[in-house]
């Protein structure tokens, strides 16, 4: 499947599960978009999990421009009251509209779990066709099964009361996926 086809399947499936999907050309553009999103939701605190890809977005600078409080401290109490968690996520899966997040670092995981909004930066070139492909690829790339890995598909949800679908129980109520084309083979 071509990248374009994978993208369109991913986008349709992810949106059907209430994820927000954006696509930008460069990491720099992703950094602008992150700041715009944070501003739009009037967030006061954001939590970053540092990674080389996140540095490439220059989001520390763009976020600073919005006046938001930025933290990267591993502190569950602080993470509990932060508004947005921002991470790089290395893969996505087209068939299920999921992002696929292998991560052993506790901060890297907690920023995706505790805040009400999770913004994920994902390379467009790493949209894989299926869950099965993702499980093979991750072992090839990491040399072993990472200690903790999650397929994340849309926000946290429940239908436990009267079968009424309600978004945002224990995890984020908003999942924003920003796909970055930069580094993609033409």
């Amino acid at each position: 499947m071509s990248t374009e086809k994978l993208f369109s399947v991913f986008q349709a499936k992810a949106e059907s599960m209430s994820a927000q999907v954006h696509r930008v050309g460069t990491y720099a553009a992703a950094g602008e978009l992150i700041a715009a999103k944070v501003k739009e939701m009037k967030a006061e605190k954001v939590h970053l999990f540092p990674s080389p890809q996140l540095e490439k977005t220059n989001c520390r600078a763009t976020l600073a421009g919005t006046g938001v409080n930025i933290s990267e401290k591993l502190d569950r109490a602080e993470l509990d009251v932060t508004d947005v968690g921002i991470t790089f996520v290395p893969y996505a899966v087209a068939e299920t509209g999921s992002i696929f997040h292998p991560e052993e670092n506790p901060l890297g995981r907690m920023v995706t779990m505790l805040p009400p909004t999770h913004i994920a930066i994902v390379p467009t070139s790493k949209i894989l066709p299926t869950v099965a492909d993702a499980l093979v690829t991750v072992v090839a790339d990491y040399g072993k099964v990472p200690g903790y890995m999650s397929f994340i598909s849309g926000p946290s949800r429940t239908a436990d009361i009267e079968r009424v679908l309600t978004i945002g129980v224990h995890g984020p109520s908003r999942l924003i996926v920003i796909l970055v084309d930069e580094g993609m083979e033409k």
């Binding site: 903790y148 890995m149 429940t158 436990d160 009361i161 009424v164 129980v169």
Partner: protein, 721 residues
């Protein structure tokens, strides 16, 4: 408790469930939405291939269990996990409670685990002094309510938002309004503190992958991720049936489980934990402790039992409950222990106590809808029958006195009693061909439906007379009447004769034929079933026929499959049974094959609107749904209007309406509503049992919709004007 008391208890729990309008509403809404949601979720997936792969790999995993347990243990241990094998519920409870005490644990958060419900883990931990909180919203509600889950995937489906608001108000000591989004937010805040403070997290697992030592959870709320990430100790309680070989098998289960469970493409989270990972304790990074408790608790007994090993193929999606007509009526709390539905009765039999499964297993209608959707292709109704037979062998037949079956099994006695009944019943029918009221304890049977009167002349008397003009020069059909056609609906039998003769056959009625054995089978009376099988084999061999035809799918299945199965221990009989079975054909199927033409310009029934009800055995055992539809539209020229849930059981299900008239009635009601909604003037079926149930229900409602067996329609269409 005496058996009679247990029966009363069980019946009372059913009554309570049937009167619970909140639960019935929720279950009915879900049941209505589920088939479409499931179908949409599986769009683009070769579902049959996927079911085949899952069933096959799960069966293989069962065969290789010892090796896989060893492999899982080694690989998880290599990654730093501590793996404990718990043979029994006690072992598991003790290990986890001791661990908590030893590590100075005070607060425990739990994500959803049916295995922990199965062994009442919370009670043990509370006794050991721990504060335990369920964090799955449904499970937490159940915990606050002090109840048991009523569905494997949706534990609180039986509660209304008002009830939930009541439990929340009490727990949070403030007035919480019954506003669902608000209550969900309250739960988030309330439980978030518990996550942050907990020293131990207990999760279940949907899979344990042997090749990598990983465990995986499939969840929507995100509580399992918090449970497995925040506390310094993680305990995973895993039933050994969750062990699979590799990630490819995991991918297949991920593909099926959410779609089958709730009609979701995938759940919000699918999480793999492989060995020890770090967490944060007081601001410092520290490795977590990971304990994996592999629990047997009756599972390997089930696996080693050749009659039940297929139940190992269950992936706990509960799709069998989602399509079960009986579950839809009564919900999960009547099933005796923790696991609900047909599969639940089987699991309870092995994991908990055979006694607890004894009453609930009777709730199975045997309609087979569950098997059609099961990702592990488990023939649940067949397993239920095996369980029932085992119980009957051990305890005797309880629900209906064995005396009744002795009558059914005794052809002469049964027939003479029915003849007496046909004379004695007129005060009941008021001269009409239905019994609207029955005296005494049978009254429940005629509350929602009229029962057919016993015909004044049984079909067999007509048949003997009719047979005299046979020439012996055409294809010979031996007709197996079955009790309903023989005694209540001789006109269906006559129609069968007309059509088969039109198709170039001569039809005979072997006099010694007896009850097909299905009622005995459904009661677990194996002995009677064998006796009847022999009698019918001998009877149907008469005259060395070309075909043996039945117009009742239950009888057809009995003659096709059961007589061969029950006689397998006796080689000579087995051979004879196989020869008989090879000639057995369903009426409509044979007519379609031989071909019939009306040869008339104007068809008497042309353009009449009809709807078709798929009888359970007809559709799911004989796979003949298309055949009568084709005959009715092409030969008779009628117009088909499909009804909603045309394949859902009418509630007749053999002796079910005798055992559970209170459940059978609302199931029938749904069927009648679906029939009426089509606006058709006629409903056609291929099963006299369904004719009896549906016609009785329509008569009681004074409906003008007619019920016809396909044979009747064809006979009328072929009759010379």
């Amino acid at each position: 408790m005496s058996n009679q008391e247990k029966n009363q208890d069980f019946k009372a729990s059913i009554q309570k469930a049937l009167q619970d309008q909140v639960m019935r509403g929720a279950l009915s809404r879900f049941a209505d939405a589920y088939p479409t949601a499931r179908k949409n979720a599986y769009q683009g997936v070769d579902i049959e291939a996927l079911r085949g792969e899952i069933a096959c790999s799960k069966a293989k995993n069962g065969d290789d269990l010892d090796q896989l347990i060893k492999m899982f243990t080694e690989n998880a241990t290599k990654r730093g996990a501590k793996v404990y094998f718990a043979k029994t519920a006690d072992d598991a409870n003790r290990y986890i409670a001791n661990l908590a005490v030893d590590r100075g644990v005070k607060r425990i958060v739990k994500s959803k685990s049916m295995a922990s419900e199965e062994i009442h883990l919370n009670d043990h931990l509370k006794k050991a002094g721990m504060i335990v909180n369920e964090t799955d919203l449904g499970e937490w509600i159940i915990q606050l309510a002090g109840q048991k889950p009523s569905h494997m995937v949706m534990p609180a489906i039986h509660l209304s938002k008002e009830q939930v608001a009541g439990y929340f108000s009490k727990e949070m000591k403030s007035d919480i309004p019954p506003d669902i989004p608000l209550m969900v937010q309250k739960a988030r805040v309330e439980l978030r503190t518990k996550f942050i403070e907990a020293d131990m997290g207990i999760s279940g697992a949907n899979m344990a992958v042997a090749e990598t030592g990983s465990i995986a959870t499939v969840t929507n709320e995100g509580n399992a991720r918090l449970t497995t990430t925040l506390p310094r100790i993680h305990v995973a309680l895993v039933g050994i049936e969750k062990i699979i070989r590799n990630m490819q098998e995991a991918a297949n289960i991920i593909k099926a489980l959410p779609k089958s469970a709730t009609g979701q493409l995938i759940t919000s989270y699918v999480t793999f934990v492989t060995g020890v990972t770090p967490t944060e304790v007081d601001g410092q990074v520290q490795d977590k402790e990971l304990h994996i408790v592999l629990m047997d608790n009756g599972r390997s007994d089930m696996l080693k039992d050749p009659e039940f090993k297929q139940a190992w193929q269950c992936i706990r999606c509960a799709s069998c409950l989602n399509v079960c007509p009986a579950y839809q009526m009564v919900g999960g709390h009547v099933y005796g222990h923790i696991y609900a539905g047909g599969i639940g009765a089987i699991l309870t039999f092995f994991f908990n106590d055979p006694e607890d499964a004894e009453k609930p297993q009777n709730l199975c209608l045997g309609c087979g809808r569950c098997t059609e959707v099961c990702p592990g292709k488990i023939p649940i109704p067949d397993l239920i029958l095996k369980m029932r037979r085992r119980m009957a062998e051990k305890n005797g037949l309880k629900m209906i006195p064995k005396a009744i079956f002795s009558v059914v099994a005794n052809r002469k006695l049964m027939h003479s009693l029915l003849r007496v009944a046909s004379i004695g019943q007129f005060p009941l029918t008021g001269g009409k061909p239905y019994i609207r009221h029955l005296p005494f304890f049978f009254s429940e049977l005629t509350k929602e439906r009229s029962l057919p009167a016993v015909a004044p002349q049984p079909f067999r008397d007509f048949a003997k007379e009719h047979e005299k003009k046979n020439t012996g020069k055409k294809k010979r059909v031996n007709f197996y009447g079955g009790c309903l056609i023989d005694f209540c609906y001789p006109h269906i039998g006559k129609a069968v004769y007309e059509v088969l003769e039109h198709a170039g056959c001569e039809v005979y009625f072997p006099w010694e034929q007896a009850c097909c054995g299905a009622p005995a089978k459904y009661m677990g009376d194996g002995e009677t079933q064998i006796r009847l099988a022999k009698q019918n084999v001998a009877a149907m061999e008469e005259g060395n026929p070309d075909y043996i035809v039945s117009a009742c799918p239950t009888c057809t299945v009995a003659l096709l499959e059961d007589i061969v199965d029950v006689l397998k221990e006796e080689p000579q009989w087995h051979e004879r049974a196989k020869k008989v079975a090879a000639k057995v054909r369903d009426f409509s199927d044979l007519v379609a094959e031989l071909g019939v033409k009306t040869g008339k310009k104007s068809k008497p029934l042309a353009r009449k609107k009809f709807t078709y009800h798929d009888s359970c055995h007809y559709r799911r055992h004989l796979h003949l749904s298309d055949v009568p539809r084709k005959l009715l539209t092409e030969v008779a020229g009628m117009d088909l209007i499909e009804m909603k849930d045309c394949d859902q059981c009418c509630g007749m299900a053999g002796s079910y309406l005798v055992k559970f008239p209170e459940i059978s009635a609302p199931i029938l009601q749904k069927k009648l509503d679906n029939i009426t909604a089509t606006g058709a003037e006629m409903v056609c079926v291929d099963c006299p049992g369904c004719v009896m149930q549906i016609a009785g229900g329509l008569d009681k409602k004074r409906s003008s919709v007619q019920v016809k067996h396909t044979a009747e329609i064809l006979a009328e269409s072929l009759r010379k004007g």
